[in-house]
Symmetry: C2
Subunit: 253 residues, 2 copies
Amino acid sequence: MSERPLILITNDDGVSAKGLKELTEVMRLFGDVTIVAPDSHRSGMSNAITVDHPIRVIKTIDEEGFQVYKCTGTPVDCVKLAFNQLLDRMPDFVVSGINHGANSSISIMYSGTMGGALEGCIHGIPSIGFSLNDYEPEADFSRAKIYVARVFQQVAEKGLPPLVCLNVNIPKGEIKGIEVCRQTTGKWVEEFDKRTDPHKQDYFWLSGYFENHEVDVAETDIFALQNGFVSVVPVNVDMTCYQTFESMKSWRF
Amino acid sequence: MSERPLILITNDDGVSAKGLKELTEVMRLFGDVTIVAPDSHRSGMSNAITVDHPIRVIKTIDEEGFQVYKCTGTPVDCVKLAFNQLLDRMPDFVVSGINHGANSSISIMYSGTMGGALEGCIHGIPSIGFSLNDYEPEADFSRAKIYVARVFQQVAEKGLPPLVCLNVNIPKGEIKGIEVCRQTTGKWVEEFDKRTDPHKQDYFWLSGYFENHEVDVAETDIFALQNGFVSVVPVNVDMTCYQTFESMKSWRF
């Protein structure tokens, strides 16, 4: 067995995305990598799994000799398949991204990038989702990669608590440092674009903008990003609200 | 405007599922209902949203005169569309289910039923996801409905804290009562069924079984279910792990 750690890489922008290649370049510094990623983009797929049709996988070897698996499923399917069918042993780390576009605040709920990281975490593997606050397919990841390496090195050194993974968002442009943050409160205000097709039937495109309910609040991930800092949010797989759990015990059903 | 509360109903088993009809029957006792649900099942869709193709909606009126919208999207799409395009005003409650099959423990992560409830909660509406621990399409919901009504009445009376919704799982068979619980620690152990098609290509079916890491632990949702109690888990939209948030502040990036 190799002495270098085994790092599983996935994403939700698909196996051909620039962000995946950039993340792979960084991870090769730290270990052996295997890529298991969707064959095309799966943005907004959250923690979705494929239950009603089968999944197919195509294996290739990239120019550096690493195994790359293209999967017809979601990011979570990719991680599950890697653990159960594709890898010879469980990986030491799961990293997901680098997403083209931020996954700060409530976007963690809808993010396929974080779906991949959460699935690694559920299985006890230290896992990190990385996102760059730039949606462009040809985004410049050169500064981001330095911070991806820094965060990864700290996790490799210190580990993560059980059932906690990291949601790392990286600003576009100059970067001033790294801040440990909490998830900003806010929501997407959906403005559907309603159109009519040539057969006079209506259809809706999801669009919308983010509404921040904690503008300029220190320690929130969006505040960090807006001020040029990388935000690192530790994310809990256990979604129980313990405060409400205690207070609800007095309810008489 | 009606004095009766407006209750938005969705699910992930699709608009024709028995569980949706049963939930609707209960909710009609408490308010005016509008149903916005997927046109067929969307199990395992989690909080997924549809970003890469448009959504279509068909409106019908059911035998009781209530509006029913069949949507080509996910449960989260249904709730977003309801809020933004389909309802005349924001609902007073969002209820999702009754799912055919439990969504206890980690299944909350993958559940389209809870995706619908979480989306309501993100928008500030008291929201509840209901699931029956019985996967049968013709499951008997008669006992479950009594407990759906009890939980709903308590929420209507006491409200829920901001950004907290409920994950309610109901046992099959006799029911002894209702327990406020926390999310059980565990994971799905995925055993993919690998097959070969007539063209000699491999494909994988997701299957697997649940591995409980807290067997017989009081106050966990699975323990309650296994002992004949309805489990009520308060669920947090804020996924930040605050304990780790504090401890990570000493990390030197």
